[in-house]
């Protein structure tokens, strides 16, 4: 008796520790022997062994076979076959593939001017800048000799090993309980290594053959590590460090040594230099003081790097003489943006980096504040940013990330795993939990959206040739009225906890809309007879995903309180192209002009009727499309949790009116290529050229290099560029030709580069005039930086700059500028002076 099934590995990043751990866990529920065979590599593994699974070196698309044998093999086969398709892909985590930067670092002029000569280059693994004391951490090597005395006979040694395993497990579980997401999953991976059957069997065998537990652990662990270190995949090789880590922890228990003793106590802001670090060593370092990491080894997928990233600790790797540098240096600077580290920096270099770090901290604080502030565009318009969730568990995390509401609660999962439909009471409890966790923020709950492709065990759907065009969503509500009304009543009951809205999928006709209205009215009546009716009517909305709705909006507005654009399906049905089908995916692209015009028509029409409209499709997560969504005038966008804070922050730099112009321009294109070109040619972050944040008054700088750097930093800080070094370089390219200080204490530095996301003007008034190599030899007290995009073809800004250049030649203008007392006054003066007609 045996069972078997084949599948193709669905994981884009291969079967690495995280999904392997989850798979091993799932297999653990059954009694049968389960093996995974990778039919490409020929390697097979006990599917309960994470190390074994990882060792098969399984990559995306590899043909795999699962063999099962045992009492519950049939049940296990069914479950695992489904698991591999529905669950396993969810446990993938993207591996960062940053290109290896070869050697040379290009220093910005300001650093060259600060005299930076001695530095080492490395591969940035986590960006950021750090300044601190230099401390080295040595490698902890597990001794394979008899340092740890024999405890006793085989039984005693085995007992010692079992105790050590229990002790390490307790440590790991405690830390998992205390840690957050990434830390917990790295530690869980270590737990899996700790419990790995291959490891245990080998150690037990070694002890039985006469070795002490300590030596057995060291040797077996070393052997496992060597096995992994010999794999083809860089990813698998990185796992060797995890085995080292667990081996070291076990050995430390057997030797009575604290792991924390292998790292120094940190007492001041510190940059750690090391050959390599195990995750345990990293976690043992006091994070209150750890500011940066410089490593000789550690690839992009090593757990230490992953941990460093999750804690936001700037890290540089590939620095071969990291230890030597760390030994010689007392203080150090780590610039993991440029990719360099400096030991014992000089005062000017230190000052440069202190300024840089302060700027980055301000930017990080502003971005973080996006979580706790309401999303608002640069001109002050509100755009609600909400979260898409599929389970109650995701609610808290969504709000922690800054979601202003739940824009879409997909209820299918509640029904998918069940053998019968959840009762009204069960559903009411779940929905109420979400609404309660929302603490007064709106929650939109979508009624059952299932069909031939999203089956539900207790509902039989007809066999369909094309489920996407079949009996799905609202189409089966008439037949399953009782089921749907159970759900509606449950949602209505949850309304007692806070603001709730009901969203219905796949509406295509007015009849369907009226059917839902009727079902809702019946549900309300049923609750009223039980004295459970909500105090206020609960708003009812429709998903706009079937294109027919675009032409019956007036009638639908009569039946609906709001709408939500399901752009994934809407684009698919509208373009008649499957975005998973590479042959036609381009037709289903958001920049197809017809699609943009469709969205525009819908939003304009719905708003003309005074209704609210949001968007819950993946388009909401598309950063490049954000200005277009703002231009549409949507009331809300709802997206996956990871993108929420970044989206709220990005909105701050967008101007609603400019976004509207951009949308009209892009939607007015005839082809997708033209639309793409128009989107690229126009500033990605539409924003006014002259704003008070870009006026730097009483600036304390000592040199032209510093002044230009600080002015470019302002562009960076206020969202006008993500590559300040490129902008600084472009300004100097012009400055090197001949000085932009044209005399009378004024300078007009300028640059034309697409490293800018919006044309901008920065005005600086210096606390003390600085040497600028001006044409008249006099120092400069006012500089106006003109920064424009190279690929911009619009004339307005060029005219403004031309006017500004001419004005700068006039004494009355310069005197007027010097007389202004504050940033707002300067902006007003400049806007007025450069307006048409001057």
């Amino acid at each position: 008796m045996s069972a078997t099934f084949r599948f193709s590995c669905p994981l884009p990043n291969g079967l690495h520790a995280r999904p392997a751990t989850h798979l091993a866990d799932t297999v653990g529920r059954f009694k049968a022997t389960v093996s995974l065979v990778n039919e490409r590599t020929g390697r097979s593994a006990n599917a309960r062994s994470v190390l074994g699974l990882v060792g098969t070196d399984t990559r995306r698309g590899d043909p795999c076979r699962i063999d099962l044998a045992g009492a519950d093999e049939a049940e296990a086969k069914d479950a695992l076959e489904a698991y591999v398709v529905t669950e396993l892909p969810k446990h993938d985590a993207p591996l960062v593939t940053e290109p290896i930067r070869v050697g040379t670092v290009v220093l910005p002029r300001s650093l060259v001017a600060a005299g930076l000569k001695d530095f080492v280059a490395g591969q940035p693994a986590c960006v950021g800048v750090a300044i601190g004391a230099a401390v080295i951490v040595g490698r902890f090597v597990v001794p394979t000799d008899g340092v740890v005395p024999r405890r006793g006979d085989v039984a005693a040694e085995q007992g010692a090993f079992d105790d050590a395993v229990r002790a390490v497990r307790a440590d790991l579980e405690r830390m998992i309980g205390q840690g957050k997401g990434t830390e917990a999953s790295v530690l869980k991976a270590h737990l899996a290594v700790l419990h790995d059957p291959t490891l245990h069997e080998a150690v037990t065998a070694a002890i039985a053959a006469g070795e002490t537990a300590a030596i057995a652990v060291a040797r077996v662990g070393g052997g496992q590590r060597d096995l992994l270190a010999a794999a083809d995949s860089a990813y698998v090789r990185e796992r060797a460090l995890d085995v080292d880590d667990v081996t070291a922890q076990l050995w430390a228990k057997l030797a009575g040594v604290e792991t924390r003793q292998t790292v120094p106590a940190l007492t001041v802001p510190t940059i750690v230099f090391a050959e390599q670090l195990t995750p345990s060593q990293f976690l043992a370092l006091d994070r209150n003081h750890l500011r940066g990491l410089v490593l000789a080894h550690g690839g992009q997928t090593s757990h230490v790097i992953i941990l460093a990233r999750s804690f936001g600790i700037p890290t540089l790797t590939g620095v071969s003489d990291a230890l030597a540098i760390g030994r010689k240096a007392r203080t150090a600077i780590l610039d993991a943006n440029l990719g360099l580290a400096v030991g014992n920096p000089t005062a000017p270099v230190l000052q440069h980096y202190e300024r840089e770090r302060a700027k980055l901290e301000r930017m990080a604080a502003t971005a973080r504040s996006a979580r706790t502030t309401l999303a608002v565009t640069a001109d002050g318009t509100r755009l609600e940013v909400a979260a898409n969730i599929a389970s109650v568990e995701e609610t808290e995390a969504a709000f922690a990330e800054g979601a202003e509401g739940i824009g879409l609660f997909r209820t299918e999962l509640l029904f998918a795993r069940q053998s019968k439909a959840p009762s009204e009471d069960e559903q009411a409890a779940l929905y109420s939990a979400v609404v309660r966790a929302a603490c007064g923020r709106p929650v939109i709950i979508r009624t059952l959206d299932v069909g031939g492709d999203k089956p539900v065990p207790f509902l039989t759907f007809p066999a369909e040739a094309n489920p996407f065009l079949g009996y799905r969503g609202v189409r089966f509500y008439a037949e399953q009225a009782a089921l749907i009304k159970d759900q509606l009543r449950a949602i209505l009951r949850a309304a007692a906890m806070g603001p709730v809205k009901i969203l219905v999928p796949m509406i295509a006709t007015v009849e369907e809309a009226r059917l839902v209205r009727r079902l809702l009215a019946e549900a309300e009546a049923e609750l009223r007879s039980r004295n459970l009716a909500p105090a206020q009517p609960v708003p009812l909305g429709f998903m706009l995903e079937v294109p027919s709705t675009a032409f019956i909006l007036d009638e639908l507005c009569a039946e609906a309180d709001f709408f939500s654009l399901g752009t994934n399906d809407l684009a698919q049905y509208f373009s008649a192209a499957d975005r998973e089908n590479t042959a036609v995916a381009a037709l289903n692209h958001p920049l197809q002009p017809a699609f943009l015009r469709l969205l525009q028509h819908i939003v304009d029409r719905v708003h003309a009727r005074g209704r609210w409209i949001g968007l819950c499709g993946e388009l909401g997560e598309n950063a490049a499309a954000l200005p277009l969504l703002v231009g549409l005038g949507l009331d809300e966008i709802s997206l996956a949790r990871p993108r929420i804070a970044a989206t709220k922050h990005a909105l701050r730099f967008l101007d609603r009116a400019l976004c509207r112009e951009l949308l009209l321009r892009v939607a007015g294109a005839s082809t997708r290529a033209e639309a793409t070109a128009r989107l690229a040619a126009a500033p990605a972050k539409p924003a006014p050229m002259l704003v008070s944040q870009l006026v730097l008054d009483r600036l304390e700088v000592g040199s032209k290099a510093e002044a230009i750097r600080v002015m470019v930093d302002a562009l960076h800080e206020f969202g006008r560029t993500t590559d300040p070094v490129a902008v600084e370089t472009a300004v100097w390219a012009r400055e090197d030709a001949y000085s932009t200080g044209f005399g009378d204490g004024f300078a007009l530095p300028h640059a034309k580069t697409d490293a800018l996301t919006a044309n901008s003007i920065v005005v600086a008034r210096f606390a003390r005039p600085i040497e600028w190599s001006s044409l008249d030899g006099k120092p400069v007290d006012v500089a106006i930086l003109l920064a424009i995009r190279a690929s911009d073809h619009g004339k307005t800004h060029l005219e403004t700059l031309a006017r500004l250049s001419r004005l700068a030649m006039r004494d009355e203008f310069r005197d007027g500028l010097r007389r202004e007392t504050d940033a707002a006054g300067i902006v007003k003066l400049l806007i007025a002076a450069t307006a048409t007609g001057t």
């Binding site: 030709a737 044209f742 005399g743 300028h750 250049s805 030649m809």
Partner: protein, 98 residues
């Protein structure tokens, strides 16, 4: 004196116009008539016509790059200076014309 001039700097966003402004101001102060064509990021503005050039007593190029439509000036004597000189010392530059 009737002067025609062209200003043109490489990036075309500032110095082209600064030089134009300075030359216009200074020429007027010295009692001359001047028409300045700018060749900048927006292209050619205030273009010098055949009539302008014919009537001119002097032609000045305050440029760091090649002048566009140079054929217009065939047969005319042209004084060439760098753009920054026109900004730094417009009077001195104009003096070169006479």
């Amino acid at each position: 004196m009737n002067i025609v001039a062209i200003t043109a700097c490489p990036t075309g966003i500032a110095h082209t116009y600064m030089a134009a402004e300075k030359l216009e101001k200074t020429a007027k102060a010295l009692g001359h008539k001047i028409k300045v064509e700018t060749q900048g990021a927006m292209g050619i503005e205030n273009e010098l016509t055949a009539a302008d050039i014919k009537a001119a007593d002097a032609v000045l190029f305050a440029v760091d790059i090649e002048v566009e439509k140079r054929e217009r000036f065939a047969g005319k004597k042209v004084v060439n200076v760098p753009v920054q000189q026109a900004i730094k010392d417009p009077a001195g530059v104009l003096a070169k014309l006479f």
